[in-house]
Symmetry: C2
Subunit: 534 residues, 2 copies
Amino acid sequence: MPAAVTDPGTLRPRSWWGWGYADAHPADAECVAMGALLPGTFNRPLPIPRIADLSIAGPAVAPPPSLAHLITADPRARAAHAMGKAYRDVIRALRGRPGRIPDLVAHPTDDQDVADLLDWAGEHEVAVIPFGGGSSVVGGVEYRGDAHRAVLSLDLTSMGRVLEIDTAGRSARIQAGALGPELEAQLRPCGLTLRHFPQSFEFSTLGGWLATRAGGHYATVRTHIDDFVQCLRVVTPAGASASWRLPASGAGPSPDRLFLGSEGALGVITEAWMRLQERPRHKASASVAFSDFHRALDAVRALAQSDLAPANCRLLDAGEALFSGASHDGSTVLILGFESATGPVDDRLSSAVDLACAYGGRARPRPAESDAPADSTVSAWRSAFLRMPYLRDGLARMGAIVETFETAATWDKIPALIHDVHSEVSAAALKATGHPATVNCRLTHVYPDGAAPYFTVAVAGRPDAEIEIWDEIKTVVSEVLHRHRATITHHHAVGRDHRPGYDLQRPEPFALALHAAKRTLDPHHILNPGVLLD
Amino acid sequence: MPAAVTDPGTLRPRSWWGWGYADAHPADAECVAMGALLPGTFNRPLPIPRIADLSIAGPAVAPPPSLAHLITADPRARAAHAMGKAYRDVIRALRGRPGRIPDLVAHPTDDQDVADLLDWAGEHEVAVIPFGGGSSVVGGVEYRGDAHRAVLSLDLTSMGRVLEIDTAGRSARIQAGALGPELEAQLRPCGLTLRHFPQSFEFSTLGGWLATRAGGHYATVRTHIDDFVQCLRVVTPAGASASWRLPASGAGPSPDRLFLGSEGALGVITEAWMRLQERPRHKASASVAFSDFHRALDAVRALAQSDLAPANCRLLDAGEALFSGASHDGSTVLILGFESATGPVDDRLSSAVDLACAYGGRARPRPAESDAPADSTVSAWRSAFLRMPYLRDGLARMGAIVETFETAATWDKIPALIHDVHSEVSAAALKATGHPATVNCRLTHVYPDGAAPYFTVAVAGRPDAEIEIWDEIKTVVSEVLHRHRATITHHHAVGRDHRPGYDLQRPEPFALALHAAKRTLDPHHILNPGVLLD
C-alpha cells in the first residue's frame, strides 16, 4: 500500500487532505470550539473531503511493461500524492480543487529503478515529482502548468532502510525514503541517533530533509541537516552522482552542497551516509519568563554567543506563549534544553538560566535533572508544537486562515524585522478580511550572528476566498522580508510558493550557474519543474 | 610596491623564490647542518636564486590606458607572481626555471577595477590568475600551457581593509585581499578575531582562504573557513554575485558554497562578511605521550566524539614528535589546547587529559592555566610548526626532497591509510632516490567520524631530478589515497597539482554541473585556467 495512504510503520491511515494521520484530526466539536476563538469564522466545519468526490481522469500515459510493477494508477494513491501540506493545500482539498493530480505514482526500490523511471520519463515528456513524506508546505511536491504530457509522482518510501552502520565512526548509510520514526527505529539498537526532529518528523523522509535543507533538533551550532551529511548518492538523468564518504574535504566546491537544497530539480537523492550521535542519556530543560521581549532577544543573543550550546533555545513571544499554553500572563517565554550522552548537563542549564536572568528573565521552577518529563511549561509547549498542524487543519475547516512562515536575519535586523512583520502583516490581514488577525512569533534557531524567527498568522477568512486572501497576506510578508534582507526561508524550502522571494534573493550569477547545471543534469527538463527554477 | 615583493604591513622584503620573508631563510651554515641529517644531500647549498638571473621577456600585451594605473610590468613583480610556494616551486626557482612568468601584474582597488580588468582580459584572450598571498602549495597561482595570448596576475592585496564591523553581531565585512596579520590588526580594537590561523597566516589572504576552503585554527567542530562565512561578493565575467548577509538560510543550494573552493575558476572573491569570535582570554594547553600510536588514535577519536571541543588536538607520530622537538623517546605526542572568551577552560583540559590517559596516554607536566606560554612541549611544537616551511627551503637548497601532503578519511580507514602511506611512500622514495626516506604523520584536524592526517616526506634527491622524483613519489601518494577513498586534499586545495586525484574523486555529474557553471560564468575561459577544470 502506498505510504501516503497508509503509514508503513504504524499502518495507521494517513490523511490525504490534511496533516498526519487521518484518525488524529480534531473532531467537529473541537473545530467549533477553536473557531469560536476567531471572530468571523463559520458556525460549523466544512466537511472532511473525500477522494471519491474528486473527478479524477485516467492517466495520460501508460507505464511501460518493464516498469509496470513499480507504478500504480490507483486514484487514491494519485490523490494522496497531488500536493503537500501547506494551508493552501488543505483549502484546495476542502474545496475539492486539489489541482493537477499526478497521472501515475511510482515506488522504486533501488537506484536502478529510479534511473529507469527517469529514462522513461525523459523519453516521454513526463514530469517527475520526487515525493518523500509529502509534508512540503511550500508547494514542493506538486505539478503546476501543462508543459508536460503527464506527471509521475516518484514516491521514495519503499527505499527506507538503514543499509549499514559504522558504530565506531558514528555514521550510517541510509536510504532516502526512510521516514523519521522508521530511520530512528533502525538506529536505536546501536545506541545511535540522527537526532533530526523537525516538526514533520513522523511524516517526512531523510531524502526530503536533504533536498530541502531541513532544520532540525538543534537550536544552536548545527541546525540544518546539511552539517550531518558525509556523502550523497543522487540519481540524475545524466547519471548517478556518488560523493566519497569523508569527514571533511577541501577538494573544490562541495559536490554535496549543490544537491543539498536542490529540491529534486537536479536529481533524486537516493541515499546518504549520515553522521550520528550517541543517544543522549542526560537531559534537562527549563523555562524563563521575560516581561520585555527586547531584553529577551538580548538574552538569547548572549546565549547563542556563549559556549553553552543549548539543544533547545526557543523564544516564544507573548502571543505564541499564550497560544501554546507556555504562559498566560503576557510573558515572553524562553524554553531551554540541554542534552548529553556523556555527562550531566545541569551545570550548563544553570549557567544558561543565570545568563537569561541577567537580562531580566525570571526562572520558572523546574525539577531536578532526570529522564523524567521536563517542567510543565516545556511539556505544554512540546505538546502544542506537535499538535499544531492538526489544529491548523481544524481551523481551516472553520473558514480560518492559519498559516506559518519563517525566516532568518542577522541580530541587527531582528527587532525591526519582527516589529514590521507584526504590524504590516496584521494590517494586511485586517484589510483583506475585515477581521483582526493574530500574528505570533517564536525564534526556532539562534546563532551568534542572528536568529530564525517563525511566525504564525490566524484570521477569519471569507468563504471560498481563503487562498486569494492568504496570497495577499503572503505578498506583504515577502515584501517585508525582502526589505529587511531576511531570507525567504530558513528551513521550509523554496518550492513553488517561495519562488518570487527566492528569485529576488538569489544572486544573479548563481542563478545562471544553477540554470546551467540544471540544463546539463536534466536535459529533458523533467525533474520537479517549477521549483527553484523555470 | 607590490605586496609579494615587500610585505605591506611589516615592509620586510618577501622571498620571491621561497617561503615568507627573505631575511628569515636559514643561513648557509644552518642549511649544511640540516643537510647532514639526510644522507646523500649536498655538501653545500645551492645559491639563493636571483630575479636578475632570469631572462624575462617583455609582456606580450600592453595594458589599456584606462587601466594602466593598476598594472605593472616590472620584472621583479612579475617574477614574484609567477608561482606559489610548493616544494616544486622552490626547486623551479633554485634551478632558474620558474615556468611562465605572468606578462602583467594588476593591483585592483575595488570591485569595479576587478570587473574592468576581467572585461579587458576577456576581450584580449588574457588569462587571469587571482593572487592573494601567493602561498599556494598546489600550483594554484601560476599559468601552465600556452592557450592564452598573455597572462595577468590579479593581486588582490590592495583590497585589504576591514570595511565594517558589527560588534553586537560579531561579524565584519572584509576585503578579500587582507593578509592574516593585517586583518587581525583591524579587528583587534573591537576585541574580536576571525581566529583563522593556518600555517600560512602571515602570507595568505582572506580571499585565498575562501577560494581554497582553507583549514584553520580549530582542530574540531568548525575547522574550515567555510563555516565562518555570512556572505560573499564575487566578481565574475558574467556580473557580480552578492549573497545576502544571513546567519543561516535554507533557500536552495547555498550560493556561497559554489564559490567556496572554486579556486578562482568561477569568479574573483572580493569581499565577505565573516563571523568573528570574542578574543579568547582563557587558554590552557597540555601534552600527552603515548607508547602506542593506535591507542593514541583511539584516544583522539574519543576526544573528537566527546563534548569537549578542543581548539587544538594534534597528534604527532613518533617521527613528527622527534622532528619538532615535542618528544625524543619515540613517543607519539598529543598536543591539546583549549580557549574561551567567557570562562576558565582548565576543567575541560583536565577532562581531555583524563580521557587521553584512559587510552594509555601519559600526561606531561604542565603549568597552571594562564596567559603565560603553554608547556614546553607545546611551545617547541608551535615554533617548529611556524619555522618548518623555511627549513624546507633550506633543505631544498641542500638537494633534499622535502614536501608535505594531507588528506582526510573516516576512522575505519585511518589506521590502514596511515600504514600504507608510510610503507608505500617510503618504498617509492627509496626506489626513486636510493636513499632512505623519512615519512612523518600528524593529525591536524579531528572529527567524530574521521581525521585529517598530514604527512611530511624528506629524502635526499638527485641533482636536477628533484621534481621528477617528487612527481614519482606523489603518484604513489595519490594511488594510496585513492585506494582508501581518502580525499586528495583536506585543506591545501586542488590547484593544478592535485587535478588527477581530484578528477577521480569528483562525482561525474557534479563535474558536468561545474563545467556548465564555468562556461556560463566565464565564457571566454580566462579565469585561472587549469585549476579544478580544463
